[in-house]
Amino acid sequence: MQAQTKVNTPASPALQTDQVKGLKAFLKKCKSQKALLLMTVPFVIWVFVFKYLPIWGWTMAFQDFKPARAFSEQEWVGFKHFIFLFKDERFLGVLRNTLAQSMINLVLGFVTAIGLAVLINELTNVKFKRVVQTISYLPHFLSWVVAAALISSLLSIDGIINEILMALNIIDTKILWLGVGEYFWGILAASDIWKNVGWNTIIYLAAISMIDQEQYEAAKIDGASRLQRIRYVTIPGMKQVIVVLLIMNIGYIIEAGFEAQYLLGNGQNIEYSENIDVFVINYGISMFNFSLATAAGIFKTVISLIFLIAANSFSKKMGQGGLY
């Protein structure tokens, strides 16, 4: 395409023939790779239709969108919906929830996964180690619907959590855990850890397995205790992976997901459970306010891209290589 337009502009004849030659060679190459093109072109079209085309829909955030009208008949309103969002107390609460939930999940998820990986690595019995790993992966494969069913059953008024806490005299009356907004962030973080901690150890265990065994032997000879070996050999050996994953996760910080929040959320805890994604569902699907929901969605995507680009360039500066 570009080559063709250039051919039409006046240039030296030699250059023209060069470009024509280049184009011809390119077309010939394409022809010889017909099979590879056949394998990919349908899916390139697919990706444009299903992944890129919806971005066109972002225009509706700047309109008072009515689904029945054609595009040319929509009323343009500029930044009205964005301004409304930032004056809306509910949305500001949603923003707070998104950031708080993500931060808590990020920090706790990170620390627990690293800790568990180190402890699994210390298991000496290979069979036991494998069984523990298999069990720890289980919750990751369950859907959030199943997980939410399990969690709400544990936390119900006659659930085991209340029974244990009563038996230990930690609480005197049974608590409806999901009915108190203040507990929601904690419950969410605990659910998230329960579901993903085992799965997240995979990458750290891979990093630990790359550590040279001689380092452990040397530390042992120098009289390092078990805990000292963890502190001075295992953890430093994981450092690179930890930094890369930390940066990557900060890039995804605003992507706290919506399934757990939506499924465990209810009228009583909505002030703490509703994050941007759930807000988009509530406004867009339940209240049909397409423009406002899209504006919130765009806001999230833009923030998320800023975080991602910042994290990536930071990662490159740290000499860890970029993610893309």
Partner: protein
Amino acid sequence: MSKKRKNLLRTREDVIFDTCNITFMILLSVVMLYPFLNQIALSLNSATDSVKGGIYLWPREFTWRNYEYVFSQASIVQGIIVSVARTLIGTAIGILCTAMVAYAIAQEKFVFKKSITIIFIMTMYFNGGLIPTYLLMRDLHLIGTFWVYIIPGLISAFNLIIMRSFIEGIPKSIFEQARIDGAGDFRVFFQIVLPLSLPVLATVSLFVAVGQWNQWFDVFLYNSSNESLTTLQYELMKVLQNTATSNGDWNSAQASGEHAANTVTPKSIQATMTIVASLPIICVYPFLQKYFVKGMTLGAVK
């Protein structure tokens, strides 16, 4: 002999550390498994008896009644059929398409190798958002059809990268030899690459199949009013939302009815459906552990 020496070398600290560590791991396994085992016990216990509480790991009044009830509900049976169909069809088509594109972009000489890779990877970092995607599905007349479960999620960039990395690792000489023998790209792909890629196909199939089986949101979004296209997860989600709002009073009201022995409660239905919805996955994933562990590390490194 060597074991004895190892034992002699174990210090007091080692013994304490290992004991604590093993205890912790057992506790952790209990925490991971208990919620699930508890639901199995509840699903096998008479619903009226469960209301009294005190069911932990073992049913007190054993019965199949809950399962009989669940499998007699037309909507749940329909949900199971659709869930199985979307898992089988979605995985088969998804894997084939992903592998094909992965093969093409793994070829060093392919003219669009780089541009196509970037076009796909970009989709990992943004998306059009819920409402625009919804309107696109509406305009494409996919809403109210089975294909809305299959086509929009045909290829995931993450799986594509895992597969590409694996195919790039296959020795080039194998392809070269086949090409000298006159095989075209399609033949190389179907007869050489696919059979050699079984480990990575197993990994990605597991990811795609689990994703399909567990999906409920697209049903909620696109087909919530279409009963013939409901899925098991969506039916469970509806039960969950109902029990969450009805707060237990319903349980006792039902239990005091005349046919107490045959009664089911939302709680026992929920437990039974939870087990039905997760059992297929639990039966499969342990056998693929070796593969998905490798796949995860491969995908993360790239």
